[in-house]
Symmetry: C2
Subunit: 411 residues, 2 copies
């Protein structure tokens, strides 16, 4: 008993798990690079492999149930999006505002219509219309974390195409929110015979847009005062924790307004400009981006490995599930590809299209919402449909970085 | 329901909590600096203040029950000890091996004897001898995290005194393990009439010493091969995750051998020498220490704020608890102060003595062990004694950095 107590620092197991994740991510990334794929696809595959290993050999620690892996993965994607935001400024983003908006709108409407049609063609004829609608909705969101990493890897994060992708993804988040609230409202209204919840829908959208507008205008004007106040402190090593606190507070506030935390973190990075922090940077002899970089390098791989580990491969192998998943994925990819051409101008549409392809965790939130919606006592999305959508999201999540890496290298 | 689901990203609350911790740590650190105390005392006080605020206003998030704060705090102290280890090399540590050993042995024997005597004088005469013995044992361990931070703040981390403090603290961890196993064995033996568990005692000590010996000799010789292999990878951003994986694996292995994870992380830092990683450092244009630094800056404050928050002030305010706590703290401080003089040579004994004063979490493990040991059906340490020891540990934890900061500034 006593020896067990002495040895039982529960955190030691977490340390071993994290070491395993980093080593697996680096080996996976290396293999991906050697076969000319983005390193992040190797990190996703490393997660798949670790989960499969745990399944076969229970001695291998379980990533999916580790609270530490979950927390550090969440931290990783938040810090990644903050770092992506730091690479651009608000005026630079406004320049790509219109093309981004076109990409976002087309990228929501086309995949949604295609998914609705595909679902209508493949599912049995008695299926309620709300199910088709929901399946379409699941294909419209964009998960930006993976594309952001590929763009960074290829040094294209600050290119016009890169900015349009990130800008459109942020707008997608707002549009996706609207679609989710709308589609859920329609599903409930169709089942219960009530009217559509226009008021709640309008309120949600207004709140999200108001947050972004206030953050990018008023927030941008008050940030310099915040950092000027901090620069009066005598403490050393102030810049990084204060900048992170700023980003995390914006992520939290954005979430209160209904946005995903990564959108708030990205907005914080956009708002923060070198001029705001130059005094602290000079005193600490480090630039903020250089200080954030090691955090991205450390924690972003945990996010990608965990994302790969969460893929339930065996649930996908039923033929009809696989068929619906493949069709939905194809429609989802084509829909976003069309959206890439909506950017217009002298831009590389294929880069934008592929950058919008990954769905990842945003689509999963849609699936979770649909499976919790009870229509006449039964969940709106049954197990087969859920597995198919998750499979489609997975296929887009793997196809996205592969395609994006491919078109980026072809220039 | 739907809005709640959309807004309910459970990680958003964690982000707000972390932002609060960083801002509180920096404000607390700044106040401490202005009254000429080490910044880390201000971070401890910030934790106390946040806990008190939560107690009064439940709207303020609760640090103590947050799994994310706990995980990131543990990560922070592990990375801090790795960074402290990186500042020195094995040959440099061997040079201070003998004085460190003297400081460690005297720093275990004297506080233990003093604590035993103090307990014997103050507690009722019917108290079992095993209780006095255990109270003495609780005073012998050293918690190095706080002193390591103060030494870093004052740029004395690589001074002979700094190395002796850290070296002695590592030896303390091994000695403390021996004392804990021994005292627990004696307590059980005295109660049950059995013999002393010499075999288990010898096995535990051998295992811990063997780990350190193997890590510092064989480990140091194989590390270059490990990093030379990693340097054949084409992936970028390899150095930091691979070095962290190395440190975390050693922390885990050390824990399997019965040592605290921070000891393994420190040993990993000692083993890693610039020559081992120079190829990766050259390719990534960053030194490993510069890459680890932002991680220390980000996560170590979470450890110190959480440590402050965990102090239960109200439980300490009973007079007889306070009296015993104050006496034990005084004996604990004096005992470690005497140990500082055992270093001998041309060294600043007061710096070493104060550096050994903080007890922190190591002492808490002793208290937890003592309160779980049942002697004739009752816990060995009752509530009053437990609260007193925790109070004494707390007082040494606050007095340590204050005293160390004071003597370091006087040179």
């Amino acid at each position: 008993m006593l020896m067990a107590l002495l040895n039982a620092d529960p955190f030691a197991g977490t340390l071993a798990l994290l070491a395993l994740v980093w080593l697996a991510a680096k080996v996976g990334g290396e293999i991906a690079l050697r076969v000319k794929l983005p390193a992040v696809t190797g990190e996703l595959a490393a997660g798949l492999a670790l989960a499969a290993l745990h399944h076969r050999f229970p001695g291998v620690p379980d990533l999916i149930t580790s609270p530490a892996a979950e927390i550090l993965a969440n931290l990783g994607v938040i810090i990644l999006m903050f770092a992506v935001g730091l690479e651009s400024t608000v005026p630079q983003m406004l320049k790509v505002g219109l093309p981004s908006l076109r990409v976002a709108v087309v990228g929501v409407v086309v995949p949604m219509a295609a998914g609705l049609g595909g679902s209508w063609a493949l599912l049995p004829s008695g299926t309620p219309f709300a199910v088709h609608l929901f399946i379409g909705a699941c294909l419209c969101a964009t998960s930006i974390g993976i594309s952001a990493q590929v763009l960074r890897e290829q040094g294209a994060g600050a290119s016009p195409e890169g900015r349009i992708i990130v800008g459109a993804a942020v707008m997608d988040d707002v549009l996706g929110l609207l679609v989710l609230v709308g589609v859920s409202g329609v599903a409930v209204a169709l089942a219960g015979g009530g009217g559509l919840p226009w008021a709640s829908l309008a309120k949600t959208l207004t709140l999200a847009l108001a947050f972004l507008a206030v953050a990018l205008t008023l927030g941008r004007r008050t940030t310099p005062f915040f950092f000027r106040f901090a620069s009066r402190f005598r403490s050393e090593q102030l810049l990084l924790p204060v900048a992170l606190a700023f980003a995390f507070l914006l992520a939290w506030l954005g979430n209160l307004a209904g946005l995903a935390p990564i959108v708030g973190a990205y907005a914080a990075g956009l708002i923060l400009e070198p001029a705001h922090v130059q005094f602290l940077e000079a005193r600490e002899e480090h630039e903020l981006e250089a200080l954030v970089h090691p955090l991205v390098v450390t924690f972003a791989p945990i996010f990608f490995v965990l994302m790969g580990a969460k893929v339930d491969v065996t649930a996908l192998l039923e033929p009809r599930t696989l068929l619906l998943a493949a069709l939905l994925a194809l429609l989802g990819i084509l829909g976003k590809f069309v959206a890439g051409y909506a950017a217009g101008g002298n831009l590389r549409s294929a880069v934008i299209g592929w950058g919008m392809v990954p769905r990842g965790e945003v689509g999963l939130i849609f699936v979770a919402t649909g499976s919790h919606l009870l229509i006449n006592g039964a969940p709106l999305l049954n197990g087969h449909v859920q597995a198919s959508i998750i499979g489609a999201l997975l296929l887009t999540t793997i196809a996205g970085p592969v395609g994006l890496g491919w078109v980026l290298r072809r220039r």
